[in-house]
Symmetry: C2
Subunit: 359 residues, 2 copies
Amino acid sequence: MARIYNFSAGPSMLPEAVLLKAQQEMLDWQDSGMSVLEMSHRGKYFMAIAEAMKNDLIELLSIPENYKVLFLQGGATAQFAMIPQNILNGKSSACYVNTGAWSTSAIKEAGKYCEVKIAASSEDTAYTSIPKAEQWLLDQDAAYLHYTSNETIHGVEFNHVPEVGNLPLVCDMSSNILSRTVDINRFGIIYAGTQKNMGPAGVTVVIVREDLIGLAPKSVPSVFNYAQQAKSDSMLNTPATYNWYLLGLVLQWLKGEGGVAAIEQRNIQKAGKLYQAIDQSSLYSNPVALECRSRMNIPFVLADASLDKEFLSLAEKNGLSTLAGHRSVGGMRASIYNAMPEAGVDALIAFMAEFERTH
Amino acid sequence: MARIYNFSAGPSMLPEAVLLKAQQEMLDWQDSGMSVLEMSHRGKYFMAIAEAMKNDLIELLSIPENYKVLFLQGGATAQFAMIPQNILNGKSSACYVNTGAWSTSAIKEAGKYCEVKIAASSEDTAYTSIPKAEQWLLDQDAAYLHYTSNETIHGVEFNHVPEVGNLPLVCDMSSNILSRTVDINRFGIIYAGTQKNMGPAGVTVVIVREDLIGLAPKSVPSVFNYAQQAKSDSMLNTPATYNWYLLGLVLQWLKGEGGVAAIEQRNIQKAGKLYQAIDQSSLYSNPVALECRSRMNIPFVLADASLDKEFLSLAEKNGLSTLAGHRSVGGMRASIYNAMPEAGVDALIAFMAEFERTH
């Protein structure tokens, strides 16, 4: 079958060039006589793959030297616990901004380890907005402030990095990392699962400022301890080697595309087109406030929800896959990460117009 | 380059049939129009892959119905903490058997959460033996007894399941799971990283008897909680989907080879040959007591250690890779897991004989 356009929120589409390269190297990586899948993580071949991957990420995000870059496991969900377990540093509370389902999960997990102070919440708007900065309650005695830069389920994205005074800023960037330029210096910790903009599932990238490393109490599990992970170069346990390799291929591809600034322009273009098509239609609508609409995840509903099933089924037949909204909110959602070609967005827009014309 | 024989202790060789299948399906899994790498973990394609994989493992190991099978992250190192965090159940101590480097790591981590009682240790023999059952100190008030069924670094393997009375028996089976038949009913928990006998790195299989699930205090991180992982079918965070798929391909291959009992016969044959070659030589020797020599990891030293470098370099040139012993013990080590063909062992034996003849 021809390859389709896959609008999954993650795991999600990968660049075809990455898949072709992985396919070509599957049985024999660069004349090594073995697959990357089979390589000892301590051997010279894999060490070279790992180092190149890490350096490419540092280059693409301009990560300053006073940050450690870790490649961990357990997804963002593990970070929800690891962060308070590592950086409370004797304090009893942390500030959280609640902009949707993922913030809510982070808040719930953090509550096991500290008092969570809600600095701001958009729950009253059903997570279709981001509270204005002047309304945020910042407690400078808290250990840090946590926010989610893009909410995949609600399609809400910060278009700026919030000002939080002297609080270390912690960000779940799972669904928009590498999709737009960002000044890493503004952050204490950035973390992101790889399965959206960076590659396949199975790796969590954690970028930690050095002063936040080494603060964990001894009771924290070793694999959860940033200092131990940093000291062992993320090889405290055997890493997910093939996932690191694929992440490296995606980063190489992104460099070839011109890097983050170039892909950001394409993302603006792709999202702009799709929002315009939705806004100009009388069948489709998107509920999110204009200034915080996500470039990555674009939810929309049909004016007549009884058409949902037919929409999804026809879309699937037209090679437009995984457009159902998250089970908690329903409707539709098009996730258009870096690897979604503009042609995929064009095909979706054309399909939506045709569906509207005929229904 | 032709594919080589890779004696890595893990990640390690995979069956060529598995690599070929993965290569063939890389861009389009079974006419889905997408790579397994790109599939939503909640979608019908991946759910089918995950279910088949789990059922194959249950079948291959004859896992009884009163056990849950989890597919987690963080390797055995995460389990070192998860086990005491989950199953102390109000008790203050746990028994550990120390048979080498991996047991030692498990003991060190458990010490964060409970009093560790060393039931037996072979440290005084430099981990070349397993203490006799009648010498073990079993404290029936402890929460459980933990042992490592195969020590990859020292090449020491239990050829039986120890009798421990009413204590739940917990086993790190990372390096010999699926290599020999075993009665799962004897165990409370079995865990194993996949990167040796089951596939690529990135998944930890945990088989837990149901009565040991649901005992964790609330402070345990969600991803570390067996009950939460069991309830969400190991999808509390996005699983390492491609690694699950590859694990499934390895299990299908093993079924095609006749299952665990059949591969065990082959493993006995492969290891028997190599030990015989070592024992009959005057250049090579293996220090491990006969009754606990590992079928999976066979360390050996050269009578003249100054030849080590040349041995390794010549072996590499002859397509026999990654034969250096672990950096903590030196010498040589041949890891010959399920996927190492008998021809690979034959090639190693022939090379060793020729090296001995010429040196």
